[in-house]
Symmetry: C2
């Protein structure tokens, strides 16, 4: 039996490794267009911030290790170009231009997502950050050239993490986006807190600013915007990602929301012998029960594992995602899980939101700081739908209590009853998430 | 209508305050034997550690504020001595020895718990830490006398918090207990980690050591143990607490586990006009479904509120406790929620436990530290039963995910599926609690 995996990132390598453990005799081939597999992509901004640690330290396992220790036929420099479900074959092109055909019994598409860079004149000067090779290029750029000014297009998670990394290196960072608001999914008051933190750290923000073109200026660039010309030694493109689903589409597989590959709970695409996992595939949202495309690392790992479990029998049905996320912006932590008010409206709920500010620890404790929480519930059912929060202390793991409650379809009233940990160095008697729920319940 | 509350601590004052908000015309009387109401008892060790902050800063509201602003007839220095359910009267004795009788329509017993000090010769030299007055006495003792050596009898939460507080003041701390193990409810390997932390901080531990008597030695004491004589300028008694349920018992109310007052989900005792809340009453454990006595602050506050809600109609049924707790021992945090293996066995489950060690953050992150987790599940049902953990980073709020899962009766398999927050500064891709669940599931 032959198991072919397209894409050697988190989902692909998780699936291949676990398949090897489960099925010692399975022939496993992984086709990876680049040369890096199994590395911590999410750690790249932090590595860029640290000149003393090589980017290659983020590699968890090298391609050679998978070949030697796991007996996986891992082909780097092989870009899959076509899938033929009728003959169960994948065609790949090597860097030398050769075409190689691989027969499969079971196929996994784990092609991930690609940065969606704006189609501007001069866009070749934009440096994205998605693959390890991107990270290496940015780091090398900073180390080999005197980078004093950077412009980041976009203001999402990765843009903000890169902003912190570059600012920490003494680089003046300017961020630009056409949309009118920072983190539009965050309630305005919370987004305002993030914005103030960025400004306090001397980051220049230009929202509502159309980007027209990028011109070269000596070794650097000038980003010409509507009413602005920004000089930069480095231009980061972090304007979002899209699922790599063209191969799947060409093979006749169903795509769904955001053009991600539609999968069932067993990670099977519309063709029963073809699985999809990771950032190229969709998932069921545990709150709405509907497909959603939220490319996050935990899901990619989990889905990769599940594909191996489900290769020959339906044994691991994934329940879905709550869209739980956390990121750091200088001293602030921002978290979310579940739906925002507007997402909840779109999903057909009758949502209500409420914002509170609480302390992260008992008020007498050193380190106690404000946590700002927005919680969303459904007026009709009383159900907890989601929460977003920000603060400088004790924010990150608090969202996990909400995430578990969302998986359990808890009502706000039931969440209020949960017995959360209290001791003065860690929390007020009522955890801020409980206080948020109590205040929200009054509006339901 | 007359609402009488016996005891002006967390549960009593929560009930009185909320009853005032709900029923502006209700006559509310609170009988408090001491003079302090509404203060953060749990913060006392941290206040003792801080010479610059007066103990009275922990007072949230003074008795006079309750009287003036909330129009509560708060009688400090009134110790309730008898309840007569047939005539619906409470008798109290003032500090001057007068007896005063209070008629009630609804009564709340919120008498809390008392330290259970060992009955030793010289036990009057033991200083407990339960009420604010105890805190004041210990702090005054340290500030007015040269306290160089302290002995703490007991090694539970409060003993360990006091140990850290005193050691921080440069006092050499010795801890003694007759039982053979530190934190016997923690799996041995985890307890060992706590023990090593204490030893690293130069705390002297004598476990399995019977305490025979306490002798005076000038202004200090000598604690005579079986095979040891320990000199001390200060002797803290932190050997546990017991519910104050004598009044309730004498009034014919049903007591249950640990002699706590048995209450229903509406906090009613066996007499429908008498409620009990706080550390004197029991609760239903959400995992076992059976009564349990776990005196913790959040439950006391929650139960106090619920009593006010339920005074005249059953409107707020409490679902129970998971026994979630967190405490700090120097650089370590220790948490638990739900059942330990032995508690699960006693409750009739077929439990399995598994221990893992994971990192608190992505391995490349500064500050990443080991988290040691023991997770318990039921072989028969697959249900998650509890977890205990310790570590120096990112431990406290992680237990809340487990607590919520226990409230939702989640299986270990379902908990594995939860979408917990990941970003390198805060967590590995798989949150340590997920890793613990995955490894436990293999044993189920």
């Amino acid at each position: 039996m032959k198991f072919v995996v397209i894409g050697g990132d988190a989902a692909g390598m998780s699936a291949a490794s676990r398949a090897r453990r489960l099925y010692p005799d399975l022939e496993i081939t992984v086709l990876e267009q680049g040369f890096d597999v199994s590395y911590s992509a999410c750690s790249m901004p932090y590595n860029i911030a640290d000149p003393d640690t090589p980017m290659d330290d983020l590699v968890v396992r090298t391609a050679q290790e998978f070949i030697d220790k796991h007996h996986i036929d891992l082909r780097t420099g092989h870009r899959a170009t076509a899938i033929d479900p009728s003959t169960k074959q994948v065609t790949a092109r090597t860097l030398h231009g050769e075409s190689v055909v691989f027969a499969y019994d079971k196929l996994l598409i784990a092609t991930g997502a690609v940065p969606t860079l704006p189609d501007l004149p001069g866009k070749d000067r934009l440096m994205p950050l998605k693959q390890l090779e991107h990270g290496r290029r940015i780091k090398e750029m900073i180390q080999k050239h005197p980078v004093k000014k950077a412009v980041i297009l976009g203001m999402g998670y990765i843009a903000l993490e890169m902003c912190e990394a570059l600012a920490g290196l003494g680089i003046q960072v300017t961020m630009v986006k056409p949309g009118p608001r920072l983190l539009p999914w965050l309630p305005e008051k919370l987004a305002q807190i993030v914005q103030e933190e960025l400004i306090r750290k001397h980051v220049m923000l230009h929202m509502g600013t159309d980007i027209l073109r990028i011109e070269s200026r000596g070794p650097g660039s000038t980003i010409i915007c509507d009413g602005l010309a920004l000089d930069a030694d480095l231009v980061i493109g972090a304007t979002g990602v899209a699922p790599c689903s063209d191969l799947a589409k060409d093979a006749g597989l169903d795509l769904g929301v955001s053009d991600a590959i539609r999968v069932d709970p067993y990670l099977r695409s519309s063709n029963p012998d073809i699985f999809a996992a990771g950032d190229c595939g969709d998932a069921i949202h545990v709150v709405t029960g509907k497909p959603v495309w939220i490319p996050l690392a935990l899901r990619a790992n989990r889905a990769g594992w599940a594909v191996a479990d489900n290769l020959f029998a339906d044994s691991n049905a994934l329940q879905g995602v709550a869209g739980t996320a956390v990121f750091k912006v200088f001293d602030l932590t921002v978290v979310r899980s579940g739906l925002t008010l507007s997402e909840a409206k779109k999903a057909g709920f009758d949502p209500v939101e409420n914002q509170i500010t609480s302390l992260s620890r008992a008020r007498w404790q050193p380190g106690a700081a404000k946590i700002h929480i927005n919680m969303v519930g459904d007026r009709q059912s009383g159900r907890l739908l989601g929460a977003q929060a920000t603060g400088t202390d004790g924010v990150a793991h608090r969202i996990n209590a909400v995430a578990v409650a969302l998986h359990a379809n808890m009502s706000v009233a039931d969440f209020i009853q949960t017995d959360l940990a209290y001791a003065p160095p860690f929390s007020p008697t009522w955890d801020p998430m409980l206080t948020a729920a109590i205040q929200l319940q009054k509006k339901l």
